[in-house]
């Protein structure tokens, strides 16, 4: 970044891959006028997505000049468009089929060399070509979470009211751009979320280095900034002698507020989240046995966050769905969304079943095939349940309307009075005037005019602005989610090993569509965050990754996981399908600060760099002990 530095790309001056400058209010004035200001520098390491299925591609170029492509993508339509461009053919001649996917976590949005090479070689040879990267190659040379340096200055009033934040974020983008502009844009524009901060300035710089490119990864930029902002808030609160839960409650965004950069908060259960999490933290602290001389020290920490339910990229944002009703009452549902393990196929099927009054088992969800399924932006920014879910709801309602017309004729009632429930339709108020669902479909299909029931729906939230990369202003999502994370840790001060004893989260995800899947999402996210905080790090020697294996790149295993309890607030989002919002991704952004705050509670030391490794804990602890001894001769 410094003038005169060697350039990674000759056409990118100062190696600046992207920069953004968001500002609202009067930061300098507010910082000068407020009661308390502190500045800190935080640092986060490069980490991996850690999906189990490596990047893979199977391409078949046929003699008609059409490409059929099976990939491993969470956003297949990125590749569908890019592949067309790369091969110089229209996208309609690219048939993208996405089989079941072994994880994505933000690392399988883009098109990679394996995809292009498979397609190009198939065209060249006239034979199907399959390329599968090894897990070592994925860990050695593919994408990573942006490592960051975050300088942040926060001003508060002495009662804990946030006055201003001034931040400079420098992210190592690696050799290529990937979707890194979006990453920096998100880091800056969501820096203050979930709090009300009247004055904010955030400058973001994405810098090229000659290492692996950084891209989106679960939480997309927010884990890094939430770590910095939440830990710094806790430090400020400690110095001001305030209650960290009360300060969070005081600054919490409320329903109906619009932030300084235009994020429109609609449903918001944050206050309830903070209060309930405060109760849990209080209870846990009461249960701690703190022994002054013990080598094991326990502590409890809290952190809060806000997230989105689907973000908008610059282009296409609409999701679509189609519901085809079979004559036996079975439903074929297709959308353009991909389930990369989060369980969206199930949640979307549940939505269709609920509308049509049939069982979940009656729904058959067809995975993505660009020749058949609707075009879709992809799976990013926690959008599928919220946005595709609404499209599915509309498609199912469309099919229901068509069936209701037939039922109305048969049952001699108004279409609006037909109720769909338990695989039957009946007239509201007269449950005896009814028809089994499958009979109704047959009646429609076999009638003289022959009605084929095909429901169609498409949806995107209104009032969402495309990203304003230069200014960061504008509303980003149809609904925002909130939550609070509580963590209890035990630090072995002699070895520096940290054991995460238990985690609890209070989460506003609107109304849950599938409790078990939501829980799985929350738990996976939280345990992933433990890795980011304590054990995961890409280690390089001479710029080369030296730990490209799951043995040496230390993600927590299932056996490392601790007890995780999750509860939801009873928030109903007016826009979300059946009141639902984002669930799971958001919690990964609050886990690190909750753990770091818990470590401070345990041993009285603030850590501003993650991962916090045992050697650093031992060194810091020992020098603090020496200082204390020196201070008390």
């Amino acid at each position: 970044m410094a003038d005169g530095s060697p350039l990674v790309h000759e056409n990118v001056p100062r190696n600046l891959s992207f920069e953004t400058n968001l500002s609202y209010g009067d930061v300098d004035k507010a910082l000068a006028a407020c009661d308390y200001v502190r500045e800190d520098r935080f640092q986060t390491a490069a980490i991996r997505h850690g999906f189990l299925e490596p990047h893979a591609a199977l391409a078949n170029w046929d003699s008609s000049g059409k490409l059929t492509f099976w990939g491993s993508k969470q956003s297949p339509y990125f590749t569908y468009r890019n592949m067309g461009k790369a091969l110089g053919i229209p996208p309609s001649r690219v048939r993208f089929i996405q089989p079941y996917l072994g994880g994505g976590f933000g690392g399988k949005n883009e098109m990679f060399a394996v995809d292009f090479c498979a397609a190009f070689l198939s065209r060249k040879t006239g034979r199907p070509v399959k390329i599968v990267a090894s897990q070592e190659e994925v860990l050695y040379a593919y994408r990573q979470r942006h490592p960051t340096l975050i300088r942040i200055r926060t001003g508060l009033q002495k009662d804990g009211t946030l006055a201003a934040i001034d931040a400079e974020i420098i992210a190592d983008g690696g050799a290529y751009k990937s979707m890194g502009s979006m990453s920096l844009y998100i880091m800056c524009t969501r820096l203050a979320l979930p709090y009300r901060v009247p004055n904010l300035r955030a400058r973001g710089y994405r810098v090229h280095t000659n290492t692996q490119p950084s891209c989106a990864m679960r939480g997309h930029g927010v884990p890094q900034i939430r770590f910095a902002a939440e830990v710094q808030l806790e430090m400020a609160v400690a110095e001001l002698g305030l209650d960290p839960v009360e300060v969070r409650r005081k600054n919490a965004l409320q329903p109906g507020e619009t932030t300084g950069n235009g994020l429109k908060i609609t449903s918001c259960g944050l206050t309830e989240c903070i209060e309930k999490a405060g109760d849990i933290a209080g209870r846990w602290r009461g249960e701690l046995h703190r022994e002054g001389n013990s080598r094991y020290r326990k502590g409890v920490g809290v952190a809060a966050y806000g997230f989105i339910s689907g973000s908008r990229l610059a282009g296409h944002n609409t999701a679509a769905a189609q519901v085809k009703v079979h004559e036996d009452g079975g439903i074929a549902l297709i959308t353009g969304s991909t389930d990369c393990g989060q369980g969206s196929d199930t949640a979307l099927s549940q939505i269709a079943a609920e509308v049509l009054g049939v069982r979940l088992a009656d729904i058959r969800y067809g995975t993505l095939d660009s020749e058949i399924t609707p075009v879709d932006p992809g799976v990013f920014g926690s959008r599928v349940t919220f946005i595709t879910g609404n499209a599915v709801k509309l498609a199912a309602e469309d099919a229901k309307r068509q069936l209701a017309e037939v039922a109305a004729e048969v049952l001699e009632a108004a279409p609006g009075d037909i109720v769909f429930r338990d695989r039957r339709v009946y007239v509201a108020g007269s449950p005896d005037r009814s028809l089994p669902f499958d009979k109704l479909v047959k009646k429609a299909q076999y009638s003289g005019t022959g009605k084929t029931i095909l429901g169609r729906g498409y949806w995107a939230p209104e009032g969402i602005d495309p990203p304003q990369f230069a200014t960061g202003m504008g509303n980003q999502s149809g609904a925002y989610t909130f939550g609070t994370q509580v963590a209890e840790v035990e630090v072995d001060v002699e070895t520096g090993r940290v054991k995460v004893c238990r985690l609890a989260m209070v989460h506003d995800c609107g109304q849950t569509i599938n409790e078990m899947l939501a829980e799985g999402q929350l738990e996976g996210s939280a345990i992933g965050g433990i890795g980011h905080t304590f054990t995961e790090e890409i280690i390089r020697k001479d710029g080369q990754t030296i730990n490209p294996s799951f043995l040496e790149y230390r993600m927590p295993t299932a056996l490392d996981a601790c007890e995780v309890a999750s509860t939801h607030t009873d928030t109903v989002d007016a826009m979300g399908p059946f009141g639902a919002k984002e669930s799971g991704e958001g919690i990964q952004v609050a886990i690190t600060p909750a753990l770091v705050n818990a470590v401070h509670d345990a041993i009285g030391i603030w850590f501003k760099e993650i991962p916090i490794t045992p050697d650093v804990i031992v060194e810091t602890w020992n020098s603090a002990q020496r200082r204390n001894k020196g201070a008390q001769p």
């Binding site: 897990q135 070592e136 050695y140 070895t495 020697k541 040496e552 230390r554 490794t613 050697d615 031992v618």
Partner: protein, 331 residues
Amino acid sequence: MTLPRFEYLNPATLSDALSMAGGESAFVAGGTDLFVRMKERITTPKRVIGLGNIAGLRSTEHLPGGGLRIGAATALTDLAETLADRPQWRGLGNAIKLTSSPLLRNAGTVGGNLCQESRCYYYNQPPIFRKRWPLCFKLGGDRCHVIKGSEVCHAVYSGDLAGPLMAVKATATIAGPGGMKKIDLGDFFTGSGLRPVRLAADEILTEIDIPNPPRSGGFSYQKLRLRDTIDYPLLGISLFLEFDPEAKVRRCLDARLVLSAAGPTPVVVPEVGQLLSGQVLTENHAAEAGQLVRKMAHPVANTASTPRYRREMVEVLTRRAFQQALEQAGK
């Protein structure tokens, strides 16, 4: 990564197995060490000779006089269960459970664990990695990347079983073309990062004998690692203490401390034995022993964490080993 092609032989007797060895062959028991290196193409034997079908290698036998003879192909899980049966061996059994994960302990064997290759950041890597730097000593090259200018290999021996078994004075039996020989387990290790164990290509480690535990003894294995569920040790301290069963005080008759995972070979620290034998043990002895062991430990940057941290933990783990061994002895 997938395994390279190889011929698999499955002998039913030890003599058949020995006669099959030679010329680019490798013996395999659980495969948890060998197959990983084969997948990385670090080693590519043409013939792999399975030892799992040789009944004698999987048996456990109680020896007259109270010792235990363990067949080298005994799974780690099975050995831990056998040791749990006797109170005096329970500590040793718990130590075995610190090895890797339950799945790998079900597959991995006692002999395989002892015979495992030493490890290094520059050695245990996929083929693409080896294009980056000139080959190191352990890969057949002419240099060490860990210590620039070093004339020897600095790979670390990371076996979990060697330290505990050496501490309790186990012996190893080796079968070869010339017959069987029995050696102290400590003599099984070469001290070299290049080839950690003294075993020729046509020799098989067949059994380990653990002597009868003393009437009053205590044992501890302290393992340093970053994840408690699967990782190799970054440092290991094994301590075996024998006490005078008649004395009411903690009079130590014999003590053996083994330092492992800190260098190319597990080593007994004889100074600790000299320090403690005949003494009534106090906390000061633990601290003094820790300093002695620290002098012997010279970890280098060949694995996770830092050499400085690994060295600093020597005293901590030694102290903890003392506490645990004393507790176990009921002292």
